[in-house]
Symmetry: C2
Subunit: 319 residues, 2 copies
Amino acid sequence: MAVYTKVNDQTLNAFLATYDVGEATSFKGIAEGVENSNYLLETTKSRFILTLYEKRANPEDLPYFLNMMEHLAGGGIPSPLPIHDKSGKALQTLAGRPACLISFLSGVSVHHPSENQCAALGAMLADMHKVGQSFDESRPNDLSLEGWKELATKTDARADEVKQGLAAEIRAELAALEAAWPTGLPSGTIHADLFPDNVLFTGDTITGVIDFYFGCTDMLAYDIAVCINSWCFDEDHQFLPGHAKRLIEMYDAHRSLTPGEIQALPLLCRGAALRFLLTRLYDWLNPVEGAVVNPKNPLDYLKRLKFHQQIGDAAQYVV
Amino acid sequence: MAVYTKVNDQTLNAFLATYDVGEATSFKGIAEGVENSNYLLETTKSRFILTLYEKRANPEDLPYFLNMMEHLAGGGIPSPLPIHDKSGKALQTLAGRPACLISFLSGVSVHHPSENQCAALGAMLADMHKVGQSFDESRPNDLSLEGWKELATKTDARADEVKQGLAAEIRAELAALEAAWPTGLPSGTIHADLFPDNVLFTGDTITGVIDFYFGCTDMLAYDIAVCINSWCFDEDHQFLPGHAKRLIEMYDAHRSLTPGEIQALPLLCRGAALRFLLTRLYDWLNPVEGAVVNPKNPLDYLKRLKFHQQIGDAAQYVV
């Protein structure tokens, strides 16, 4: 949540001269995203976000993410639009970092989404998946089974520092998921990290979807599972069935779920819970020196995992 | 350079309901100021900065700072204007912190000010001092002689870790300044920290002056001395006489300097250089755990101090 790379007015003005976006009238570093440096830029013509990709971003993946955003924005999804310079390039180098100027989206992210906001999310997610079907690039999901195994191995020795027995619980869950992980479900371009932080609202209307830097090709229903985990539990980690019902129903109204997807939902939800449990556990055990952001509690997602484990039938999500 | 206190949408909306400023359409934490949490807020009516004052700010001083900004803005200085809620209050409590909503100012701060920008600064500073004359509150300058003595004492034992002989240089300079520090010069409300970071430009026009949290009552010419130190040296810490000349001349054109002020300028410049040398030295020796901002090199101001020590006559600043 900080600006890591400083961009001064001279560097900025030289950069903007290669675009047809007008001249800077305001330029402020914003505390958005944990991994990159972001500036809110206002010019004589419009408003933009300038992102400098810091070392945790793999530069080889950046064209995929930018092309994905551009494809989705072109299909009517309120995703940021990467801006091209006068020579047609979107991905640049600025202050020694890969960088991109993207369109600004208004709206405010919600801390406690309402049922209506979950309904809007479901509709938008289904639309995003439909538009994504014509995106012809692909990227494997680094944080699916193989990635979880790697994180489980890296955290195994110390997981019990966080909670007695956690390492064994993770191993058992990973074995169960590996044995039963669905195949053959409709697949395509997914966001894979669609937390409330990454959706901007004006009232109950979605005005922005941001942070596509986990975007990848995977089962579409996995995105729903991520949303159920992150949108449909309250602060005490209690499941909110009304929220899940509206989310799933509106998704289904915009893109019909197949019987296989519905059946797989509890398992996909377990997988998504394990994914955030593992990444949070890793970050908890390996805090970044000097980081301003406090690592998030991994056990929030152990609670969700246990909830999903006792779901026998997807219908229980929409009671 | 970070947001320390998070404000979620519910807290924000409840807060905004006490104002007549419209509803939030965008809300982003900005990486501005080292000591407070700042958000850029856009509403259906206008744009604002929401500041939450963190623990380094003395809550007792906040009414002074806000009243100073309001007085200056009312007198035509492009200072942020504290916004009053429906009951007339500007200083609030939000998320357990003192907080204030202030008007947004456009413009971009310049890294290497030009001579024309120094001229604009001189004119604005003189106007600010004139408008400040009718501000009827006062606050002592914590970072004048007495404050420097305190910092010198606190850093004395370890100053030589930064540079051999530094502690003795500081002691000698402090003694010299104490013996000769001017009295009886025109005094009033000063900014006291008017670095290029704190001035927003559109081209060569000043559109904003920010960060009044060192504002106090002291000799007006001390503000000029701070500006000479922070605006009139290049990256290699070489004095830029053309910059100083335009700054001083334009100040004088808007508010005539007295002979005593002109004569005292070299000494005031030494004092201002010592002030930033000492605060930077203290921060260098006492880094804040987990801070994202790297402490600034105190020796940049030792170089400036040595430059001012060899100035015999203020006329040398404007050759």
